[in-house]
């Protein structure tokens, strides 16, 4: 069977039906813009774009991917259209990959606005563009998979959104974005180190200002491990919960 046809069409349908809808595009633009503006106004005198830049990118990706995937997967599950995909002669691995691809692309697109504002307006000098994009891609994948793990566990759209917030907000404060991990109480630090976002943010920090706190190689290896782990965790859950 030509599985690539199924993959491509699931991706196209999701992009057209969910991700490229005007409200989502505007959300993808307004969200990072609002965060940047807020931080700029708050700390105008001591504003350093290189300190803010990784955080805005990470938040844009995290919120964009998890919100969208939680809604689309839960919605399709509830309306039973996801059943149609499960009945198709494609492996669950390929099906999940095609469903997350749209969200990953959406996450990557969400990072473009903060990059443009930072580079064009604030004249931020990115030290390593390759690593910046590696970080963005890995962060998009890992955030999407976090969203998928949440979506698979939820029955309703509102439940998925609530679960997402339950994870997202603590993650922002624990991953070293605003407060360096070393400044956190010692008993909280282990939580920071089990969050995949921590390593994604560290890669972005390195790429922008070399202000990282973990080895960049370790960051990338751990991110890949998180991606694979979350991917198979979601597949395991789909098989367990949806094919009962």
């Amino acid at each position: 069977m030509k599985s690539y046809i199924a993959f491509w069409n699931i991706l196209l349908k999701d992009m057209k039906n969910y991700y490229l809808k005007p409200p989502n595009i505007s959300w993808g633009i307004i969200f990072p813009f609002a965060w940047m503006l807020m931080i700029f106004i708050k700390s105008q005198s001591a504003f350093n774009i290189n300190d803010t830049f990784p955080g805005i990118i990470a938040m844009s990706i995290l919120f964009g991917t998890t919100s969208m995937l939680a809604v689309t997967i839960t919605f399709e599950r509830k309306s039973r259209s996801f059943e149609r995909l499960l009945l198709a002669p494609i492996s669950i691995e390929l099906l999940v990959f095609s469903k997350i691809s749209g969200a990953i692309l959406f996450g990557i697109l969400n990072s473009i606005i903060p990059i443009l504002i930072s580079v064009l307006y604030f004249k931020s000098a990115v030290l390593n563009w390759y690593l910046l994009f590696t970080g963005i891609i890995l962060l998009s994948i890992v955030s999407t998979l976090l969203g998928l793990s949440i979506a698979v566990s939820a029955k309703e759209v509102f439940e998925a959104q609530t679960f997402s917030n339950f994870f997202r907000f603590p993650m922002i404060f624990l991953c070293g974005l605003f407060i360096p991990i070393v400044s956190l109480p010692f008993y909280i630090r282990p939580i920071s180190y089990i969050l995949p976002i921590t390593y994604g943010v560290d890669v972005l920090k390195y790429a922008i200002s070399k202000n990282n706190s973990i080895s960049i190689l370790l960051d990338i290896i751990l991110l890949v491990i998180f991606c694979v782990g979350l991917f198979y965790f979601s597949i395991f859950n789909i098989r367990k919960k949806w094919i009962v």
């Binding site: 030509k2 009945l87 094919i243 009962v244």
Partner: protein, 323 residues
Amino acid sequence: MESIIEVKNLTKNYGNLTAVNNISFCVYKGEIFGFLGPNAAGKTTTINMLTGMAKISNGQIFYKDNNLTTKIKKFQRYIGVVPDESNLYEELTGYENLCFSASLYGVFRSKREKKAKELLEVFQLSEASHRRFKTYSKGMKRKLTIAASLVHEPEILFLDEPTTGIDIASSRQIRNLIKKLNGNGTTIFLTTHYIEEAERLCSRIAFIKNGKIIKIGTVDKFIEDIKESNIIEVLFDSISVNKNILLKKLNQNFPDVECTFKNENTIIVISPDKIDISPIVSFLSSNNIYILEAKLIRPTLEDAFVKMTGIEIDIMKKEKEKK
């Protein structure tokens, strides 16, 4: 006959609940095989296991002699599934839904576009092809869902309660389409709680109750099995003679049959053997009785179902309507 699906000792447990209990059956190539039973009998669970939407607790499934129990995915390209509720995308148009469904089976663009147009034509949905699915009526939704399950030209079509909850005209149209599809060579497995639907459509039927198959057979076989005697009903205009005298005369002249009055205008003639009606009709006519109708009363599939399962059809219908 060549069997296309063979199921051996299939069981589905949900914790302590056994939804399907050790059932075995065959579906022959080219037939319409029906599962007839009330709510929670295990019809949908069986379809779900056969199509890969539910795990099998025990038993085996064969497709053309290949054991697919643990690899139903391989079987999915040969099947089309129409669930009891439409599962297409509300935001897509009818045409887009069909094209998308075909793409899931690896059908190339030009072929899927052609097939989608063809199916829209067959299902009389061409005019609504560019309308969003969510704007369709229930009957139209069901028709498009059936069309979507046919875009990849499956060998077997699973239909779960295809006419439940839709208007009479659409039900009729869907039944005709099912017949037509079957006529074109598609094997059909359908579940229903409508006895007349099963009777009209199915080559063979399995009665299912509480997860167990009570009996499998053809409509004629079911009826034959419950038929205890031959019955003829004679309907007449009115009689001027005394009823008791007439009955006495009848029983004297025809000692091999038993005659009784069903009501003022109807006589029932019962015999364990075949009844020759013409002498009885002549006798009644000679007694100045004007006969309106004489007909052979056959037990119905409904009688067979009620007798074998102990379930009243009306109760079954009401249960489903409530659902």
